[in-house]
């Protein structure tokens, strides 16, 4: 009798609610493994030949892989500001260019030693710093320093990706999956683990909508195409698409059956397909601006559908105080 009950309950609950273990095994661990592999390949490519044309394909692949996991703003990626060291953006005060130019001017070879470079400002490291070296707006200084800086930056990315993946494998995956067990001090309840993933999901929508689309969008009277993410490497729209895909992947791992959410994601990808300029440069035109704004609205609709369906199925919200001010 007891066994039959258990079997029945498992059967009932499974399709609705896949949850934390599935998200860790199907989304998070493969995502970080791919990012670790892609940055290792980038490091190898830069070591072999640091010319921009040779490094760019593996740079683009590494950036793609980062977008697969960049929404996971908790755990090993948040230790010591690692997420920011991987991608310091947005950066309206140009802290990244300033710090990087200081390195280039000083030609400080000692700073490029891996241990020393790990202590360099997060703004001067990561994918955006590498973009400035591979797609420079002004010619890079003569000599071999820029090449050495490309190699150090690529190698630092590979180191960070390896560390994050390793810490997820050895420690953090288990902490999430065993949430609520007596010896788990990090997640004392299963709800807390679901909450962490759900918060990452909703915060991820905000970042795509407010920053990746919202910053170049500006206002109708004052569009800001120069603020588009990674426009030098022509990735702005691609980054929106890939981060939406990552959010969909996470949402589906958590709650596989969510038809309204599926439809809202479908609509967002469709309107993203209508955007003409891969770097959002056309937000300066009325038509281009409207297409980007429709994309932003579709992102908000996908977020709202996710809150309604995925949030309800997980029985979590965004937090009693986090959702509003004082």
């Amino acid at each position: 009798m007891m066994l039959r009950w258990l079997a029945l309950c498992t059967f009932c609950a499974a399709p609705l609610h896949a949850d934390v273990t599935e998200a860790v095994d199907q989304y998070i661990l493969p995502g970080y493994a791919a990012f670790a592999d892609a940055t290792k390949a980038l490091d190898a490519a830069a070591t072999a030949d640091c010319t921009a044309a040779t490094v760019i394909p593996s740079y683009q692949a590494a950036f793609d892989a980062w977008l697969g996991v960049s929404v996971l703003r908790f755990g090993p990626a948040e230790i010591d500001g690692r997420s920011l060291a991987i991608q310091f953006w947005p950066d309206p005060k140009s802290l990244g260019p300033k710090a990087q130019n200081a390195l280039l001017r000083a030609q400080d070879k000692a700073a490029l030693d891996p241990t020393a470079f790990a202590q360099v400002s997060v703004a001067a490291r990561g994918l955006m710093s590498l973009e400035r070296l591979l797609y420079p707006s002004d010619p890079l200084p003569a000599g071999d320093y820029p090449c050495a800086l490309i190699r150090a930056t690529a190698s630092d990315l590979a180191r960070l990706a390896f560390l994050i993946h390793a810490e997820w494998q050895t420690d953090f995956a288990a902490a999430l999956k065993t949430a609520g067990s007596p010896d788990n001090s990090r997640y004392t309840t299963q709800a807390e683990a679901r909450q962490a993933l759900y918060t990452a999901l909703i915060t991820g929508f905000e970042f795509v909508g407010d920053d990746r689309v919202g910053r170049p969008l500006g206002t109708f009277d004052k569009p800001r195409p120069e603020r588009a993410e990674a426009h030098a490497s022509g990735r702005s729209l691609r980054n929106v698409n890939l981060s939406l895909a990552a959010l969909q992947h996470l949402a589906k791992a958590l709650v596989p059956i969510a038809p309204a959410t599926d439809a809202a994601f479908g609509r967002a990808f469709e309107v993203a397909g209508n955007v003409q300029d891969p770097a959002f440069a056309d937000v300066a035109t009325p038509q281009g601006w409207l297409r980007a704004q429709i994309l932003q609205q579709a992102i908000w609709a996908a977020r709202d559908a996710t809150i309604a369906e995925v949030g309800a199925a997980l029985q979590v919200g965004v937090g009693f105080n986090a959702a509003d001010g004082d």
Binding site: F320, A322, D326
Partner: protein
Amino acid sequence: MTTRRGFIASLLAASALPSLSWADAGSPAYLAAAKLVDGTFALYGITTKGETAFAIPLPARGHAATAHPTRPEAVAFARRPGIYAIILNCANGAVMTRLAPPDGIQFNGHGAFSQDGHVLYTSEVIATTSEGRIGLWDATDGYSRIGSWASGGIGPHDLKRLPGSDALVVANGGIQTDPQDRTKLNIATMRPNLAYLNASGTITDLVELPPEYRQNSIRHLAIATDSTVAFAMQWEGDDAEPAPLLGLHKQGNVPQMCGVPESEMFVMQGYAGSIAFDPTGQEVAITSSHGGAVQIYGRDGTFLAGILRADASGIAPATTGFLLTDGFGAVSTIVDHSLTTITQGSTLWDNHLVALT
């Protein structure tokens, strides 16, 4: 001045009623408002171990509370825009009285008692303009309204009494809000300040932030024993250009804005909700429910540590370090910058944790 009514009331109080103390309310060390699992709201008394000393129902979502210095009486404030505050007898759970602001005035979430406990000060705004007022209520006479002062700015939020005096410091947040829906109306032109008022309500000092931080709303305060004021801010400027969220000020000096390393700049999402000194006064912590984080700074303003905790909200000094409440029902200690959850329930803690001193 002793009114006839006040005289009789105090005579009655002295002769007829046993004198109650906070021990009669289960010796709570802290007060916090919360949402219960059934969707109702309550004010809780919490012990140093994170356990419940009492829970008294509230009619709607609360915000902060203020404790009478000697009597087991708490003032529970509604969220902004506040149309009520409730005086609770924490020993027996009775609602002693309900304060309603005068017509056209709204409570703004916080209050403080005078040193002798005779006067309650409340932060208030004129509803139509958000011009700040400090309401005065006679705690010796059933909390009758006895006057009001200008707060020295727009949208005052927290206010605290300086140690060993009846001087007040007020966080004038600078934000004008719609009286119905809290919509912010003046972000482009806001000018927050810290206002110091003496015991008769005269503004003795008005401290503004440097021009680049005018969009940094000063909202919450913690006071060290030497009257150093730590203030927590909420950044209304571009969230990609984060500003310091902690400031330190001692009267006679310029305010110190406490920056953080680049790796910590975005963690709080431009929002500091609660603030507290540790019991030694050597460290100060701010929380961000939006960022799910706590940041700890040294007394000299240097950044010391960041701790991630979902919906981190109320913070107060503990026996050592800090006590933290969150919107997911946990009470945790932070000792040596390390967080340990000591109780986990289904009661969702609201923005603030108020230490009884």
